[in-house]
């Protein structure tokens, strides 16, 4: 939903580093954000240590344990093939983490490069790059992702690439905006006056000072990316069986809504928890770094 903001983000030069004590003090006033960070940390731990924590192989069919409700031996029940839902949800965290990192990695890197080049050099470079970005912004993100997926063919990797690429225009626009404001700063002018090369100016002055709004955007973007990628998997365009991706698990649970509520409940809960936490942290970070945007 971030794609819909019409006016270019109100960009201000943001002090790059906040004294950490202030951050902690502010955090204390927002207990929900602490909970959100904790939830995210938990999921990251689950993701990293999935093979150690999951009681079963997420794709192993357990003999004679089809559609078991939650019990002591299967805390979240089993699915229609006799696979342990808990193990699948845990391994699903691993996949979602990868989706988040890959998609945002693509969007952040490409978006920043395009935005900084356009903002720093201006002129024809700016005109061409931003014209392309403007056209791509004419596509709702999920549509753009699906168009890219139509080109690449359906698979989880391609879905990640598609979601990442579809977010690039938004990042590029923000990056360009902040770069423009940084470029006008005295210290950039000064560096230029004493004959410092473009590369050095970009690396030393522009990048460090323009990046925080983009990073804020990325924090909220991870949630959206995970949602869209899971949606694509739900449609059968992303993860293929037996991959324990949360969206794919929900899609598989459709036929068992009545007989096995646990199959749809736990992956749905997992994805909602992660996205809520990401959104909370994103809101908080934005407030922290850009008080003028506070709502």
């Amino acid at each position: 939903m971030t794609t819909i903001s019409r006016t270019p983000p109100r960009v201000v030069a943001v002090p790059a580093v906040q004294p950490s004590r202030t951050i902690l003090r502010r955090l204390r006033r927002r207990p929900l954000v602490i909970v959100a960070f904790t939830v995210l940390a938990l999921f990251v731990i689950l993701a990293l240590a999935a093979p150690l924590l999951a009681p079963h192989d997420p794709t192993a069919l357990i003999q004679g344990a089809v559609l078991r409700p939650p019990s002591r031996s299967f805390p979240l029940g089993t699915d229609e093939l006799g696979r342990d839902v808990l193990s699948r949800v845990i391994h699903g965290a691993r996949i979602s983490l990868r989706i988040g990192l890959v998609t945002i990695g693509i969007a952040l890197v490409l978006g920043t490069v395009i935005g900084v080049l356009a903002g720093f050099y201006g002129g024809v470079v700016d005109g061409v790059l931003m014209a392309v970005m403007e056209v791509l912004l004419a596509f709702p993100q999920i549509l753009l992702a699906m168009a890219i997926l139509a080109m690449l063919g359906p698979s989880l990797t391609n879905a990640m690439i598609a979601v990442g690429l579809s977010a690039v225009p938004v990042y590029a626009r923000t990056a360009r905006g902040t770069t423009l404001s940084v470029r006008a700063m005295d210290y950039v002018e000064a560096a230029r006056a004493i004959g410092v090369g473009d590369g050095r100016i970009l690396a030393r002055h522009v990048l460090p000072n323009m990046i925080s709004p983009v990073v804020v955007l990325a924090t909220a973007g991870v949630g959206i990316a995970i949602l869209i990628a899971a949606g694509l998997s739900y449609l059968g365009l992303g993860a293929q069986p037996p991959t324990p991706e949360w969206g794919a698990m929900l899609s598989q649970a459709r036929s068992y809504l009545r007989n096995a509520w646990w199959m749809a409940t736990f992956p749905g809960l997992a994805i909602t928890l992660v996205v809520i936490s990401l959104n909370l942290c994103g809101d908080w970070l934005r407030d922290l770094l850009d008080p003028r945007l506070r709502t």
Binding site: P140, A150, A230, P267
Partner: protein, 306 residues
């Protein structure tokens, strides 16, 4: 005013050209030979040649694009590889149910979003505000393919109140449109809340308050009217997003529509069909954008001269 309108409408041209170009390039930026992807690597040589010339792939790329553009302007989007039917025909057939769903969701989202947003902004007790903010957060974060399933489970399977398939008429629209509206309503609620809060800080509101106008009147008469402009902008722009978002909701509720057609097109690597759908939805988005800009310009003269 006329200058503004002309400028805005003229801007449409390059954007639409860009959209057609991007859609056109889908076929050419595809890794590998699109014809092979569509027909399979063991397709007969005559089939391959036929499709290649049908798609015009044997001509220079500029000519191809101009042809594509010329046909698109006349409403000819080529033929589906899968069904051999005109893409335009398939899309016109499938667009209405999707538009109906998106419109219903839009109405719901605007109503729910504005009510929630204003209530939160005007709430005297912070707990009400926090509660509404929390609900919008959940609405934003819950995937529609889960919330839809939960609604089916509760209202269709357990309580048996509402049908889940399309044949139930208007009643069958309730669950899908609620599902689709939830994230949009959450966004609108947040925008409304922020906008109302900002307006309430303005001088004229303070003046009204100082004059002893009741708080209710302040909020509803003075603040709301001005606060709603950005809200309606966002709402209008959401519409194309709702059309795109219908992809998932249609799949959850087994509704026929453009979304399911798009999924079929991608799964069967039917490029002309996929291109047609992308082009239609993106163009809708562009037109909505311009429409909103114009309405915005009419409502708020300052914008025109920017």
């Amino acid at each position: 005013m006329r200058a503004f309108l002309t400028r805005r409408l003229l801007l449409l041209v390059p954007t639409l050209l860009g959209v057609t170009l991007a859609t056109f390039l889908m076929l050419h930026l595809t890794p590998g030979d699109p014809v092979t992807i569509m027909l399979g690597e063991f397709a007969s040589a005559s089939d391959v040649a036929r499709l290649r010339s049908e798609l015009g792939l044997d001509r220079p790329i500029v000519v191809q694009y101009l042809k594509f553009l010329g046909r698109a302007v006349r409403g000819d989007l080529g033929s589906s590889i899968r069904s051999r039917r005109p893409v335009a025909e398939e899309i016109t057939e499938r667009l209405p149910p999707t538009l109906v769903l998106a419109l219903a969701a839009q109405v719901l989202a605007v109503c729910a979003g504005i009510i929630a947003g204003v209530t939160a902004a005007a709430a005297r007790r912070p707990s009400v505000d926090s509660a509404i903010v929390a609900v919008t957060l959940v609405g934003l974060s819950m995937p529609t393919f889960w919330s839809g399933l939960l609604l089916i489970l509760l209202f269709s399977l357990t309580l048996g109140w509402l049908p889940i398939t399309e044949s139930g008429g208007l009643r069958a629209l309730i669950l899908p449109s609620v599902t689709l509206a939830a994230p949009a309503a959450a966004v609108l609620a947040r925008v409304t809340r922020a906008s109302v809060l900002e307006v309430l800080r303005q001088d004229y509101v303070r003046t009204a308050r100082a004059k002893g106008v009741s708080e209710r009147l302040v909020v509803y008469r003075h603040a709301l009217r001005n606060a709603l402009i950005p809200v309606l902008t966002v709402a209008a722009l959401q519409f194309a997003g709702l059309v795109a978002g219908a992809v998932i909701v249609e799949s959850v509720f087994s509704r026929p529509g453009l979304g399911r057609l798009a999924v079929t097109a991608i799964l069967s690597r039917d490029f002309p069909l996929a291109q047609g759908i992308v082009l239609v939805v993106a163009s809708m988005y562009v037109f909505l954008n311009v429409g909103v800009d114009i309405v915005y310009g009419v409502l708020d003269p300052r914008i025109r001269y920017q």
